[in-house]
Symmetry: D2
């Protein structure tokens, strides 16, 4: 089995290295990742400039683009044969609830899915790297399971691992995405020349983090696994919108 | 009613100007858009650099960032009072099916939604600007309807207008997102110095474009309105994933 | 006479507009400038990505590149016939002494020179725009002089205008470049996520600002005009280097 | 002796590695280089965004900025004590004649000079890496000479090494900068979506490449050493400009 690895923290991120160590033991791996930290890249495509590739001494490829670019380019051009699965991460920090919408890690997985492949997004709910090995082991176990029991072709698994050594992880839980409060307001500062600049604020606190959510799972020591779909259609709203649209024109 | 307008084609795009002309007749408007063409930006956030704002002679603000940055910054910092609605577009070209996942226009709307506001993404299914006025009129009519009949707070309307004069538009149709085939393979070229570069290929052709889809609506002369949700949880897959996750560890 | 105008503060900078107002009265003008503020761009070339051009309602062209890119592209591609002169500015702030090495304004002029044209770099020694009109008038007068008395083909005039109304300017003085002290140390800060970031510090104070220098001229109310050469050869050091090089191998 | 190494081809360029191998044998070295290929960066400063630093496994630091940023940041912030010299390169390709004005390699050296240090810019006149070792040996020999015989504090040595094995290099020659013809016209192409894009053309052929120039030296199998000054004042033009400036106002 061939597996494509990518991430959004950049080709030199320790989380990618840990993931590579763990997955190369169970599959043939190719690593294609952004040459810079692209956290927050969502599914951005680089359309106005061409992409360039560089191979590093460890065999990893870096691309001057986004996580989505990396996966798209890897599958279209860099890999002699397409992979059987895409695994993205291990993200330094959670991708819970609304984070998934902005996450380059989830988007790297989503791009694998767009190109017809099962895909996993791996995140460690910590900014420390102490338990990266545990998260890598989780990734390896999920990959091994999916090797024997393939994932439905139109699904992504969004996996968040609590900040614990592997043997202290309580279990694995299927979850739905929770919700955060809005991000803290942006900060307005001045650059050294007195011009106004704005920075994003910290992530919002949990808003919907009850039983069944990804927030709840990891805060209780469980690995959270949320199956994601990329069909954004709000089917449940179709009738109510239908009730008025034909009156507009 | 205060309405925030944005787009992903950039602050000087004719589609934004047309939208502004139409919406300022029915609401108080503020325009905050990227200073460059950011098509394909998805919901990318600019996290590693600060944002800067410039106001132009027509009153529009431009930001050196993504559509999501623009909406976030507008609501957090630039507008003295938050808007009541976000309208993004009018995109030069369709945002149908899988496009929505990558579209900066849809993402600008989605960011309004994240911040608690009803939001509309407007696109004209054409690369010509001939019928931009018709699309602007559609936007105006939908906004007027929603002024009287508010949209549920967690919904985005993704609106695609067929490339027709307004009086030739057949009607308005609620749709689900269709699907495209995978994009054509990337092209590999060489820059003037003989180094390999890669460009994205053209959009894929329709794959799922049957009755009920957005593709079908616009190809039949209807305005397509797809309600979107940003909860990516694949609820229908939760049971099947639950059947195996507890055996992994 | 056709004159190409450019700058490094970006296509919307008031200094460019003032320059345009003044020069269009004495020549046929084309304006091609960066779409963003590129202060400090030096003679950087955009080599890894292609350039794109946009024309604005006022007829100005903007380019997603550096000042050097703008001048190069204007002369090579955008102008039906090559210009007779390049005028860059009016820079918001001085380009004195060592500044010239980093200045995108001076570099825009230098690129005109590289392409065989006489060139002028205009700067107002102020961050306020109050006396921009005076600087524009200075530019106009110099251009008119050079129309009648052409500048030697391999020279750039670096012009700095003191922050005074035109009638309070004492006179025009030919100067040599002075020298600044090293820039203040860079500041080390943390971004909102606690990661180290570094910003350049303020410009250094004058080090060599005696009689005859550009610093001295403007601080005494004179317009400073420094003829610049782009041949960096240190002729006066050739002998001393020659004394040892043949012993190395 | 502490030596700072940098370049413009990026932190992973083989030329930087060769230079590091050669210089670490004769001095204590620190390497700080751009994280991407910044050829053509000239002395551009990154002023609108902050800089970030990453240390790699081989001990090299990369910066998300220009060669000038790297040298400035290294000396101001990264090195506990300032270096005694800056050596930039080994550039993959010549920096002869007018190239020096645009070269990020020469600019990295020039920034060392601005900060008060003797500096050397090293280039191999080849796009192949076959003789990189020879160029590294040349660098080492020049550094060793300067360790015993310091360079005047306001000089940069611009060194171009012919594409030969070390033992076939004829000798070392002090040169002045020659001149190239203007670069070939830019190419106008279309991106995959039919929009106009422009690329720089190839370097111009030699225009002034006679005896005494850097072009002549390397084409005759000699290492070219050109002492550079960063004082751009055209002293020889001061009188002629003086003859008219006081009549302008």
């Amino acid at each position: 089995m061939r597996i494509l690895l990518s991430n959004d923290d950049g080709v030199f991120a320790p989380g990618l290295e840990s993931l590579h160590e763990a997955i190369k033991q169970v599959a043939e791996v190719t690593v294609v990742a952004p040459d810079r930290n692209l956290s927050g890249a969502s599914s951005a495509l680089t359309l106005t400039n061409p992409l360039r590739v560089q191979q590093h001494k460890n065999g990893f490829y870096s691309v001057n683009g986004t996580p989505t670019d990396c996966v798209h380019l890897a599958i279209n051009q860099l890999m002699p044969e397409p992979p059987d699965m895409v695994v993205a991460g291990i993200n330094h920090g959670a991708n819970l609830g609304d984070d998934t919408f902005y996450s380059g890690t989830v988007s790297a997985a989503a791009e694998g899915r767009h190109l017809g492949l099962p895909a996993i997004a791996m995140s460690l709910v910590s900014k420390s790297e102490d338990n990266m090995h545990a998260a890598a082991l989780v990734a390896q176990k999920i990959v091994k399971h999916l090797q024997a029991n393939p994932l439905a072709s139109d699904r992504i698994l969004n996996v968040n691992v609590p900040d614990l050594p592997y043997d202290q992880i309580r279990g694995f839980e299927v979850t739905r995405l929770g919700r955060r409060h809005k991000a803290e307001v942006m900060t307005k500062e001045q650059d050294p020349w007195g011009r106004d600049i704005y920075w994003y604020g910290k992530l919002g606190k949990e808003l919907d983090a009850g039983v069944g959510t990804d927030f709840h799972a990891v805060s209780n020591g469980n690995v959270s696994i949320t199956p994601l779909s990329i069909d954004m259609t709000a089917y449940s709203s179709m009738d109510s919108v239908a009730s008025w649209v034909d009156k507009i024109k």
